[in-house]
């Protein structure tokens, strides 16, 4: 059962990844692309978790965890740039 | 697998080189990054491709070659140092010349 579900799941996630990527490319605005980038990060987490199940390996946990912990920082930086320009301000 | 991997490296490398040769700072930095992606993958490939065999000792019998991975890690760190240096130096140049042209003209 899993032998089918995992590939299907991977395929679905892959499709989601592609659709998100399409938004990234289409834009049209910069915030649109940033949303897509942010979502790609989350999609990647899901992909890695499923891939870990497929390999029956827990070695990928740290990767997914790190993406969850750090991924948003890039989004924050980019969005803050759109708002304020300078992302590290004096005060 | 090898062919696809090599193709990806090739395109990454080509894009990287093209950008490296740009006349402005930012594309050059982007180019450095792409080029280093290509090289990191290339180095990884030099240990041959292996799937699902991370070099973490468990009960397995086969592991991916850990050496290229260690090399890539070092290369990434050094690349980061160099990129940071380049970026700030480019800013310094921008502050002096008022242009982001790599030649200052």
């Amino acid at each position: 059962m899993l032998a089918i579900a995992i590939p299907v799941s991977l395929a679905i996630l892959g499709l989601a990844f592609l659709l998100t990527l399409a938004r990234l490319v289409r834009g049209p605005s910069l915030p649109d692309r940033l949303v897509a980038l942010d979502t790609l990060n989350i999609n990647a987490i899901a992909l890695i978790v499923v891939y870990g199940i497929r390999l029956r390996s827990t070695l990928f946990f740290e990767i997914a965890l790190l993406m969850a912990v750090m991924g948003f920082v890039a989004t924050v930086a980019l969005t803050k740039y759109l708002q304020r320009g300078d992302i590290i301000e004096l005060n | 697998m090898e062919a696809a991997f090599a193709t990806a490296i090739a395109v990454l490398c080509a894009s990287g080189i093209y950008l490296l040769l740009s006349a402005r700072v930012l594309p050059v930095i982007l180019g450095i990054t792409l080029f280093s992606y290509a090289i990191n993958l290339f180095l990884l490939g030099m240990g041959r491709l292996s799937v699902g065999q991370p070099p973490v000792i468990a009960n397995g019998a086969h592991y991916a070659d850990p050496v290229p991975q260690a090399l890539v890690l070092t290369a990434i760190v050094i690349g980061f140092a160099m990129t940071a240096f380049t970026v700030v130096l480019a800013l310094r140049a921008l502050a002096i010349d008022g242009t982001d042209h790599v030649d200052g003209a």
């Binding site: 059962m1 899993l2 089918i4 579900a5 995992i6 299907v8 799941s9 679905i12 996630l13 499709l15 989601a16 990844f17 659709l19 998100t20 399409a22 938004r23 605005s29 910069l30 915030p31 649109d32 940033l34 949303v35 897509a36 942010d38 979502t39 989350i42 999609n43 987490i45 899901a46 978790v49 499923v50 870990g52 199940i53 029956r56 827990t58 946990f61 997914a64 965890l65 969850a68 912990v69 991924g71 948003f72 989004t75 924050v76 980019l78 969005t79 803050k80 759109l82 708002q83 | 310094r92 921008l94 502050a95 002096i96 008022g98």
Partner: protein
């Protein structure tokens, strides 16, 4: 691994994937930025949530050992996703993204007045 558990894992996997896909579809086809911004939350919450639950269940049974650490992944996402969304929305507002005409109300804009501080620093030739 019992079939039941395997089935549950499968369902969780598929549900998670499906919601991720729905989020992506939303992102792809919703008409304006703010509406599209709703998409990722599905990927974040039920999408990753489902997949992670599948993982927890799978490894717990597979390794015969309560493997809960994957739960930290959605936990962190739940913490961080709202920041992302909030910041993205603010960025969208600041960038004056097009808002679907059907939208009721308009977001408030907080423009910086022509900033003397920024202009003052404009001295490109000086390097002292």
């Amino acid at each position: 691994m019992s079939t039941v558990i395997e089935a549950i894992v499968c369902i969780l996997l598929l549900v998670g994937s499906a919601f991720t896909l729905i989020g992506a579809i939303g992102l792809a086809r919703l008409p304006d930025f703010f509406m599209r911004l709703h998409g990722p939350t599905k990927s974040t919450t039920l999408g990753v949530g489902g997949v992670v639950l599948a993982s927890v269940l799978y490894f717990t049974v597979h390794n015969e050992y309560a493997s809960l650490h994957e739960l930290l992944i959605p936990a962190f996402l739940f913490l961080t996703a709202p920041i992302s969304a909030h910041m993205l929305a603010k960025a969208g507002i600041q960038q004056r993204v097009k808002v679907s005409e059907a939208t009721r109300g308009r977001p408030p804009v907080h423009d910086e007045p022509a900033n003397p501080a920024r202009a003052q620093a404009a001295n490109p030739k000086s390097d002292a």
